[in-house]
Symmetry: D2
Subunit: 407 residues, 4 copies
């Protein structure tokens, strides 16, 4: 895992790398990604693993990891640039083994895992031999208020006894382990110090995958799914605790910081591909002979506004990544909230305009637009609904005015 702010990759090397990633994505992923997302996903696994091997051979695999871990040692900002390119295909991050939730779990275990956790779980994860998931959100409690957790992990001797109900445990289907957020210290004075993170192997008899939740018309499977799961008297060794008891939220914050950069750059990649599809359609669809849709001013407006908004998104995310790299995640909390709601909104607007330009074709599954329209609608909800980020950004800004008034 590369968390360094210096990189073995120079700017001009990065430019060459970006071209290679772009070539790989356009040549090898674009031709198949629509079929893959139509599924069934598992039937494509051999093909996807073969692409992973090609990525390794070309020295492009796991760009976020340090060279020692089999990666390229990119900084956060450099990886962000790669991430936008990978994001243009719904299978981009998966093929290069830097997809959520695995990448977040890799970052977490890299920073806070014990030596044994690293050798058992992190190593195979980094090599792409296994997959993982992250069980945090609970169906009965608002995810936007993370101190509300009903799942408990009670220390009994050398074990933790876990009980609870989670959902939106992304990609649990087919994963080897999950990291679960559970209350271990209900009596802690601060609600932010009550929960801990624990590793649970999914073959544990106390773990139940209830269903892949049907989301926007599809339950999906394997990597492309979101599970509802239960922990019922699920026992794990105490050594499966990550970090210290009560550190759950602190670790989650660490995990979310770069995670939002990753999401935002992936969204920008999607927006760029939708934009490209919109332009191609505008040029090729003729209303009358020689009269392409592109001549319509409304469509020109959408193209111009989309270009402006995508550009604004990219500059803001890269600016935030630079600051985070330099000053840490805490220093850029306002920026993180800003890009979360700004880019999610831009993403959905661009997808919506691209659909409208495609007309009836846009609502079929014959293009990727339908997939994104459905599967990225969650972008305005997960990792904190936009409304929560707006409020917290505003409150943070206004706090400085409070200080001025009081000072």
């Amino acid at each position: 895992m590369s968390t360094s702010t210096t990189s073995p990759v120079t700017p001009s090397e990065l430019s060459q790398l970006l071209e290679k990633y772009r070539g790989f994505v356009e040549d090898k992923l674009f031709p198949i990604d629509l079929d893959v997302v139509k599924g069934p996903f598992r039937s494509f696994l051999p093909q996807l693993h073969s692409l992973r091997e090609q990525a390794k051979t070309m020295g492009l695999f796991a760009p976020h990891l340090s060279p020692e871990e089999g990666g390229l040692g990119l900084t956060l900002v450099q990886f962000a640039r790669v991430s936008e390119i990978l994001g243009q295909s719904p299978i981009g991050h998966f093929v290069f083994n830097c997809a959520a939730p695995d990448i977040g779990n890799m970052e977490l275990l890299h920073m806070f895992g014990s030596a044994s956790q690293k050798s058992t779980w992190l190593g195979p994860l980094q090599k792409g031999e296994i997959r993982s998931c992250f069980a945090m959100t609970e169906p009965q409690l608002p995810g936007s208020n993370p101190v509300h957790l009903a799942t408990t992990a009670v220390r009994e001797g050398n074990e933790y006894l876990i009980n609870g109900h989670k959902w939106f445990t992304t990609a649990a289907d087919g994963a080897q382990f999950t990291i679960v957020m559970a209350v271990t210290n209900p009596e802690a004075s601060s609600p932010y110090q009550r929960a801990s993170m624990l590793i649970v192997p999914l073959d544990n008899p106390g773990f139940k995958l209830i269903r892949n939740i049907p989301i926007m018309g599809e339950a999906g499977e394997d990597y492309l799914s979101h599970a509802e799961v239960k922990f019922e008297n699920c026992r794990v060794p105490a050594s499966n605790l990550i970090g210290e008891e009560g550190q759950g939220f602190a670790l989650a914050q660490e995990r979310l910081g770069p995670g939002r950069i990753h999401h935002c750059m992936r969204w920008i990649g999607i927006a760029e591909r939708a934009f490209d599809m919109m332009c191609k359609r505008a040029m090729s669809r003729e209303l009358d002979i020689g009269k392409p849709l592109a001549e319509k001013q409304t469509i020109q407006n959408w193209i111009a506004e989309s270009r402006a908004e995508i550009k604004a998104s990219r500059l803001m995310v890269l600016d935030t990544a630079e600051k985070m790299q330099e000053l840490g995640a805490k220093a850029v909390r306002e920026d993180i909230s800003t890009i979360k709601f700004f880019v999610a909104d831009v993403l959905m607007k661009v997808i919506d305009r691209a659909i409208q330009v495609h007309g009836a074709l846009g609502i079929t599954d014959d293009t990727l637009l339908s997939f994104w329209y459905r599967h990225e609608r969650g972008a305005r909800i997960y990792d904190g609904p936009d409304e929560v980020h707006k409020s917290s950004l505003a409150k943070s800004i206004l706090k400085s005015y409070q200080k001025k008034a009081n000072g």
Copy 2:
């Protein structure tokens, strides 16, 4: 079919009827409709047909038809009021046998069908014994410019030979016949007089249902599907022509007029149910104990704006229906364009807000919101994209300024 502007139903009888429809929909349809749309649709057909029998028994079946035809003889405006209530459930119009495309075909055959067409097709359709579809849109040509049609019907002796490729032929799967729009008079001077409408039984060997198009993640089946179909040397008796040769567009216009009223009222029904779900969720979901989402001003804004926009929609559609009833479809072309883009936009905004209020639940298929978010996205596209209606409304308005300037 009731096309009269007088109705056997008095205002106070209508109020009672509306209550009965509301009761039926809430008591008998709400409990099952989410399951029905999850499908498979065919497995629910026995249950749905039993509901139709109940509707008949209660004197509520086919409200749009004249009493002689087994209906209630409602006027367009009265039916619009019923239609809003039925629209609150995705199976409402189906159960009462007034769903598109059947209702449009009933209107068409009622007004322009020959005696033989009426007895063969219209009768069983009105009784709900068979289903029908309407093949107009073509994949290679913009539906927004209806004079572009590649499908041809060539008169050969006592037959028409039909060849062509259509899609978005709603509910073709399981239907007994389609009405197809095809060019019969390519040499006609006006492009609006080149096409005709013909009846094609779907067991005709020249008809091929290629696929139920996967739309927004679902191909669906039976009534809940949109087919891609081909006519390959498909021969039908000349007597299957509806009206005269070259009347295709004129008839389509007649069909679309009330059709848009029906759609808009159905959309308002959906919006009302989504609104209701949004309010209930806002009241029941607590962010903290005793702190429901409803206390958040952003959510209050969405509720207030949705209420205003739905009310505006209803008043405009009813106003248009009244004028259409009185003055005919041609006289309200501007109003029809207005409600088409205004209500479609309101519908999608209300659904989107309701989803956001539901958070993660909103993107699952555990509520109807996901179904509507996906299946009503087309509302801004079919029957003419909103952009086309805006331009044509504006041009019509500006034409009157031209006259003033010239006069």
Copy 3:
């Protein structure tokens, strides 16, 4: 004052009346209104009073008053239709003596004034011999929370001693009296029963007009002004109290109900004229020879959206007026909030689009658009900011859900 729900004016007479008002406004007011608003207003008073005489001669004066009071006896709904026409000119309501704040004061005194108040103040006001104003908003306290009032009226013997600071006392400059809202019963248990309304003649030595507030670049004068005023040991006879002590808010609510209908219809009138200017400009301004702005799809979109939004506004306001006429102001509180924020928003959007279509000309004072852009910006603020109305509408709706949950 006509508060009856029956009118001496039949529907067909109303149609004729509306034509007469339209003719008067277009022929006599449109040619001069731009000059009048450029001012100085007082220099136009003789001309405006002459127009009032013509209105009287033609039987069009004071349409809101009963025939006995010199008016036409129109119902609220009928007057609303007239009001839209008058609103197309910034001097329309003034000429016909039905402009705010006079019309509100007439309604108030008609319903709650004593015989002596009626003969002294109401009579001359109805005849247009004097003008009045209404002093409610205070600079230091939020107008959106009307129970906050710092102005006091202390009963001393047969007099009230008034002290306080008000602003946005519209048209105080040149008025003969004001109605002032002041706290008379600070100890009342309900904050809604602490204030009263009193009549203060403006030649009272305790009344000071501090300034006509410069608003959006103009202080204005006379009817076209908004004053900052002070009451300094201002004594009035106890008989100047309107109604009972503590009834201030109850009366204000009565005054605001129809007041918002009046405002909304006036706004719709403005929107219609701005719309008309936009269309004319679009047809006459050529980007290239024979290529008018009207051919641009963006401008077509604005025209179509404006037409839809104005139509929605009108239907909602008339619907609200009908219900208010039938059921009273209290029964339509939700509707009143709805039209307040909906129509104010539409008004500003239509004006803004019309300006943009006019280009550089649109920001000059060479058209009325600049006047409305500036002087109607307050529409989203006065009579309760839009945000307050949205919240109160939503809370009222959600209350019914509370009841269901509890029931």
Copy 4:
């Protein structure tokens, strides 16, 4: 004039400079700028000139000029940073002698002026001894299509004879000379090679300042005004031609490139100050005791959205300035269009929200918000309406798709 891409000012020196500018603007301009814009402007000239002297003494005057010309030698990007700070006060750029239209004329004469033009006009302009203006827009022809010009300059011997009608000649009142755009070569094959730029001293008897156009309620005067002017048989020496005949548009493009950067950064400065006023008001205005407006989520939304949009604006403008500095104005035409419409829109949205947060106070002239609401409305119109920039951006983007399709 500094057009170099290298600067004598290092990054750390720039930081210090920015602090100095910020201090100057906040300490010396904020206390008086509201009064100055209320005017009359001329009465403040002595005070403003004294501030200029202070700026010179502090080494802050004319930051855009090279050290030899009495400036600081800042690059375009460095000046952009300063410009944002100056923009926070409506008199900032004037005091530092870098306000439009003077700055554009300085750039033009610096690059294309003859030695004699430089000594006669540029020198005094750079020192702030005289003012200038720029006469391009014509009332009868759309400014958005600059090849339409009716003003002519006919060569007669050693003179040009100029005739024409212009408006929006900013700051003509009190200026010593104008640069006028006039057709000299009507027969040129390209419409872009027909016009030229000429210097006209304003004491020329053929020049007439018809009026300072009343704009949004104010005609203004001197620097704060926009004139309508006429050239009637106005003769100037042929040596007053700038550059070559027919170069008018080429020069105008050069002038507009950096000009849009300047405008955009000034707009961002305004938006920042309006944002600051909005936050302060939100914290200080209490709806109830201890319940500031800031607690309202709607206001939090506005603050968060404004912060995001301003940040996006700044990053895009600085990015464009960097590219322009490196690659020239032509290479960034798409970016220039992008920032023009994006930032103008953000500016007006932020001002509008700030007004709404101020309530009634926001529409008075007691804060700067009213000034900006009125005087910056033109931002969406001048230098090309937003709609034109959107279309031209889209067409430029789509052209690359054309090439792909053809290649």
